[in-house]
Amino acid sequence: MHFPILTSLVFLPVAGALLLLVVRDEPEHEGLVKNIALGVSGLVFAETLLLWSRFDPASADFQFIERHAWMPAFGVSYFVGVDGISLLLLVLTGFLTPLALLGSWASVHKKTKAFCMFVLLLESAMMGVFVSLDLFLFYVFWDAMLVPMYFLIGIWGHERRIYASIKFILYTMAGSVLMLLAILGLAYLHSTTAGSYSFDLLKIAELQVPPHLQFWFFLAFALAFAIKVPLFPFHTWLPDAHVEAPTAGSVILAGVLLKMGTYGLLRFAFPLFPEAALFFAPYLAGLAVIGIIYGALVAMVQPDMKKLVAYSSVSHMGFVVLGIAAMNTQGVEGAVYQMLNHGISTGGLFLIVGMLSDRRHTRLISEFGGLKNVMPHLVAAFLLMTLSSIGLPGLNGFVGEFLILLGVFRWDPRMAALAATGVILSATYMLWMFQRVNYGPVTNEKNTGLADLRPREWAIVVPIIAVIVLMGVLPNLFLRPIGPSVERLVTHMHQSASARVQAAR
C-alpha cells in the first residue's frame, strides 16, 4: 500500500480549510490565517512536483490509481488517477493557487479567514476534477467547485460582483445538469449491457454507445464544457466574472477553471463518443475560430485592462479547442501545452493588473501611461508576460500556438489560416495596451509616486517568469509526459471511428 498521493492532493486543502476554521477571525490573526493558507497551498504544490518526479513519462496509462467503493449499489466508486493530460494541469493548479493567495495579500483585508478557506476549498475541487476517473466523482467536484468561486466573486469582487457571480453559477450549472443526465444515461446503458451500474471511466469507455445516443450524449457533455471554456457564443459570463472577481479569483478562473472545459473535452467528450466527436469537430473548430477572431477584436477596444485580458482568454482558449478538434498528435499536444501556457501567462497578467489596481484602484488603460519611468521592474515583468501571451518565440506561448497551428494545418489548412490571423491580432491588442500603459511620458500625476515591485510581488513574478522561459526553451521537458497519453487518445479516436465505419459496411 503506497502513499495515496492523489487523495492527499485533493484533501490536503480541505484539511487546511478546516484548520482555519479553528483560528479566531480577528484582525490580529490575519497574518496567521494567510500564512496557514499559503503554507498549505505551498505544500500541495510541492506534492504536485513530487507527483511529477515519480510519474513514468513513457507510459500512456493512468498512474497512481486509487479505487475504493463509494456507493456500490450504484456502481459509484472513488476512483482517481493521472495520465499525461492531467498531470501538468495538477502541477499548474498547485503552482497558481499560492501565487493567487500572494496576489491578494494586499487587497483582501475583509473576512480574510473566509477568503482563504474558499480559495483552499476551490483548490480541492479543482484537483478533484483533474484526478477523477469516475464520472460521478468528476461531476461532484465539477459542481462543488462552483460554490467557493461564487463566494469569491460575490463577496470580494468589485462593483457588479453580485450580478457577475450569479451569472457565473447559473451559466455553468445550466450546462452541467444536462451533462449529469448524460452521465446517468451512460451508467444506465452500462447496466443494460453489463448488468450493473457503473460510472467508471474505463468501463464506460468500453461501451459501444449507439450512434444516435452518442450524438445526444456528446452534445450534453460538449455544452457543459463549451460553456466552461468558454467557446463562442457561450462566453458572455466570462468577461463579467473576470472583471468583477478579486485578483485571486481572476487568476484561478483564467488559470485553471477554463482549462476544465478543454480538459473535459479531451478526457470525456471526445474519447467516450468518438464518432459523434469527429462528426462535430468541424463545428467546434468553426466556433473556436470565430471565438479566436471575435475575442481578439473585442479585446482590442476594451478600455479596462482586466476586461481586455478576459477577452484575450476567449481568443486564446479558442486555439486550445481548435487543437483538440484537429485530433492529431501535434494539435492535441499543442492544445495541452497551450492550456498550461494560457494558465501561466494569463494568470500572470491578471496578477500584474491586480498589482496596478492595488496601487491605483483603477484598471482603466487611460488612467495609466509612462509607467516604465516609474516602476521599471514591474513593467519588465509585465512585458515578459505580454510577450508570452502573444506567443513570442523563445517563450512558452510560441510552442503551444505553433504546435496547434501545425496540427490544424494538417487537418484543415483553411482553419489554420483563419486562426493564424488571431495570432497577429493578439500581438496588436496586447502590445497596443502595453504601449498605452507603460510607454510615453507620465501623463497622470497620480502615477508619479507609485512604488515598484515589493518583495512579496517579486516572489510572485519571478517564478512565473522562470516558468515562462523554461517552457519556451525546454518544451520537451513538459511535452515528454504529455506525449504518450495524447498519442493513445488520438489512436483510440481514429481506430474506434474507422472500426465503426467498417462495421457499417
Binding site: A73, I169, L184
Partner: protein, 477 residues
C-alpha cells in the same frame, strides 16, 4: 394478528402528548415547566420502538403494519419531531404561546403522521390524516392575536376539509367497487379487473389522487401552501412542510404502489403531468417571491414535484429514492426554517429576503448554516440534497421518464437563482439599519448544527442510508 406491537411508536408519542396536556393543566401561571422534555422522551421512546421493530414486520389488527417502509418514515418523523421541538422553544417564549398546548398538538400531529405512514387500511389512513390535519390547523393559527396567522389557519382548514372530502369520496367509491378498504384486498380485486378498468375505478383513483395531491401541495392543488406557510410561526411551518409531506407521501406511495398498482398505466399519465407542473410552478413562481417564507413555500412545492418523480419512477433503481429524498428534505428544510425561526424577532418578523442583509456579520455561524441548508436544497454536492436529487433522476432515467428528468434538472438550476438570493443578502449585502437579530438559544443552535452535520454525512457517506431506504421500500412491493 400481532397484538399491539406495531402501534407502540405512535402510542409513545400520543402518550407524551397527553402528558404535556395534563402538565399544562397543572401549571401555575408563569411557572416554567420542561414540557418540551416530555415530548423528547416520547419521541425517544418511539425511536427505540422503531429500532426494536425493525425487520420484524409486525402488524396490529390487520390495519397497521410496522413494516420497514413505515418504520423508516416513522424514523424520519422522529427526527422531524425532535428538530421541531428544538427550534420551537424561542418562538414559544417570544410570542408567549401556550407551551403545553403547542407541544401537545405537535405530538398528536406526529402520532397521526406515524399512523398514516404505517396504516394499511384506507379508513385508518383517513383517520390518521384527520388527526394530523386538525392538530396542524390549530398550530397554524396558534398566534391567536395575529390576523395573518388566523387567516392562514382558516384558509388551510377550509381547503384541507375540502380535500378530505375528496379523499373520503375516493374511499367510498373504492369500497363500493371492491367491498373492502384494506389495501391488500383492494389491490387484488383491482388486479383482477385491471385489464379493462371501469370509469368507476378511475373515478375512485382520481378522487384519492386529488386528496393526496392537496396534502403534498402538488400543483394545481397547492394554492393554500404559500399562505399557510407564511402565516404560521416559522417553527410550525418547518414542522408541517416536512412532517405532513413525509406522512402524506408515505401513504401516497403505499396506496398507489400497492393497492392501485394494477392501474399504474392509467394514473401514471396524470401523475406525470402533476409532477412536471409542480416542479415548474414551484420554481418559477418561487423566483418572484420577496418573503423568505413564501420563497421556501414554493421551494417545498417544487421539492414535492421531485418526490412525485421518485414515486412515479419507483423501479428497482428508484424504490429507495422517495424515502431517501424525504429524509434529506426533512432535515434540510427544517434546518432552513429553524434559521428563520431564530432570526424572527418579536417586534420585527425579519421574514423578507432583504431582512437577511448582513446576517453574516452579526451571526456568521447562523448565516453559514443557512447557506448549507439552502445549497443542499438547491442540490449542490457534497450536500445531501445532491445525492437525493441524483437518486431521483437516476430512477427517472432508468424508468424512461427522460422528459421529467430534463424538467427536473432544469428547474433545479432555476431554483438555484432564488436560493442564492438569500445567500447574496446574507453575505454580499450590508444592512442599512442596525442589526436586529436576537441571540441564538443553545439548544436550537445545537439542533441546527446537528442537522448540518447530518446533511454532510448523507451527502458524503450516503451508502448505509441508501441501502436502508432501498431495503425498506422493498418490504411493501
Amino acid at each position: 394478528m400481532g397484538g399491539f406491537n406495531a402501534i407502540v411508536p405512535m402510542a409513545c408519542v400520543a402518550a407524551a402528548g397527553i402528558a404535556s396536556m395534563v402538565a399544562e393543566a397543572f401549571r401555575d401561571p408563569g411557572e416554567r415547566m420542561p414540557i418540551a422534555g416530555l415530548g423528547v422522551v416520547g419521541l425517544l421512546g418511539a425511536a427505540i420502538a422503531t429500532v426494536l421493530l425493525w425487520n420484524h414486520n409486525q402488524a396490529s389488527f390487520g390495519l397497521v403494519s410496522a413494516d420497514n417502509f413505515g418504520l423508516f418514515v416513522t424514523g424520519v418523523l422522529v427526527i422531524v419531531g425532535l428538530l421541531s421541538i428544538a427550534i420551537s422553544g424561542p418562538t414559544i417564549d417570544r410570542e408567549h404561546l401556550p407551551g403545553g398546548e403547542y407541544y401537545a398538538l405537535m405530538l398528536f400531529a406526529l402520532a397521526g403522521m406515524m399512523l398514516m405512514a404505517t396504516a394499511t387500511d384506507l379508513l385508518v389512513i383517513f383517520l390518521a390524516l384527520e388527526v394530523l390535519s386538525l392538530a396542524v390547523y390549530v398550530l397554524t393559527g396558534i398566534r391567536r392575536d395575529s390576523p395573518a396567522s388566523t387567516e392562514a389557519a382558516f384558509k388551510y382548514f377550509l381547503l384541507g376539509a375540502f380535500s378530505s372530502a375528496f379523499f373520503l369520496y375516493g374511499i367510498a367509491f373504492t369500497y363500493g367497487l371492491t367491498g373492502s378498504t384494506r389495501l391488500d384486498r383492494v389491490g387484488s380485486l383491482m388486479a383482477a379487473q385491471a385489464m379493462a378498468p371501469t370509469p368507476m375505478q378511475l373515478l375512485a383513483v382520481g378522487l384519492l389522487l386529488v386528496g393526496f395531491a392537496f396534502k403534498v401541495s402538488a400543483v394545481p392543488f397547492h394554492m393554500w401552501t404559500p399562505d399557510a406557510y407564511e402565516g404560521a410561526p416559522p417553527a410550525v411551518t418547518g414542522f408541517m412542510s416536512t412532517g405532513v409531506k413525509a406522512a402524506a407521501f408515505a401513504a401516497f406511495v403505499r396506496v398507489f404502489l400497492s393497492a392501485f398498482e394494477p392501474l399504474h398505466g392509467q394514473w401514471s399519465v396524470v401523475v406525470w403531468a402533476i409532477a412536471a407542473s409542480t416542479m415548474i410552478v414551484g420554481t418559477v413562481v418561487g423566483v418572484a417571491q420577496t418573503s423568505v417564507k413564501r420563497l421556501l413555500a414554493y421551494s417545498s412545492i417544487a421539492h414535492g414535484g421531485y418526490l412525485l418523480v421518485a414515486l412515479l419512477a419507483a423501479n428497482d433503481a428508484g424504490k429507495g429514492a422517495v424515502l431517501f429524498y424525504l429524509l434529506t428534505y426533512a432535515v434540510t428544510n427544517l434546518g432552513a426554517f429553524g434559521v428563520i425561526a431564530l432570526v424572527d424577532n418579536a417586534d420585527r418578523p425579519n421574514d423578507q429576503v432583504r431582512d437577511y442583509a448582513g446576517l453574516w456579520n452579526d451571526h456568521p455561524v447562523l448565516a453559514s448554516l443557512m447557506t448549507i441548508f439552502l445549497l443542499s436544497l438547491a442540490g449542490f454536492p457534497p450536500m445531501a440534497g445532491f445525492i437525493a436529487k441524483w437518486y431521483v433522476f437516476t430512477a427517472a432515467v432508468k424508468a424512461d421518464y427522460m422528459g421529467l428528468a430534463i424538467i427536473g434538472v432544469l428547474t433545479s438550476v432555476v431554483s438555484v437563482s432564488f436560493y442564492l438570493r438569500i445567500v447574496v443578502m446574507m453575505f454580499m449585502t450590508s444592512s442599512d439599519e442596525p442589526a436586529q437579530f436576537p441571540a441564538v438559544p443553545k439548544i436550537a443552535g445545537l439542533a441546527l448544527v446537528v442537522s448540518a452535520l447530518l446533511i454532510f454525512y448523507l451527502g458524503i457517506l450516503p451508502t448505509r442510508v441508501l441501502d436502508w431506504a432501498a431495503a425498506s421500500i422493498s418490504t411493501i412491493f
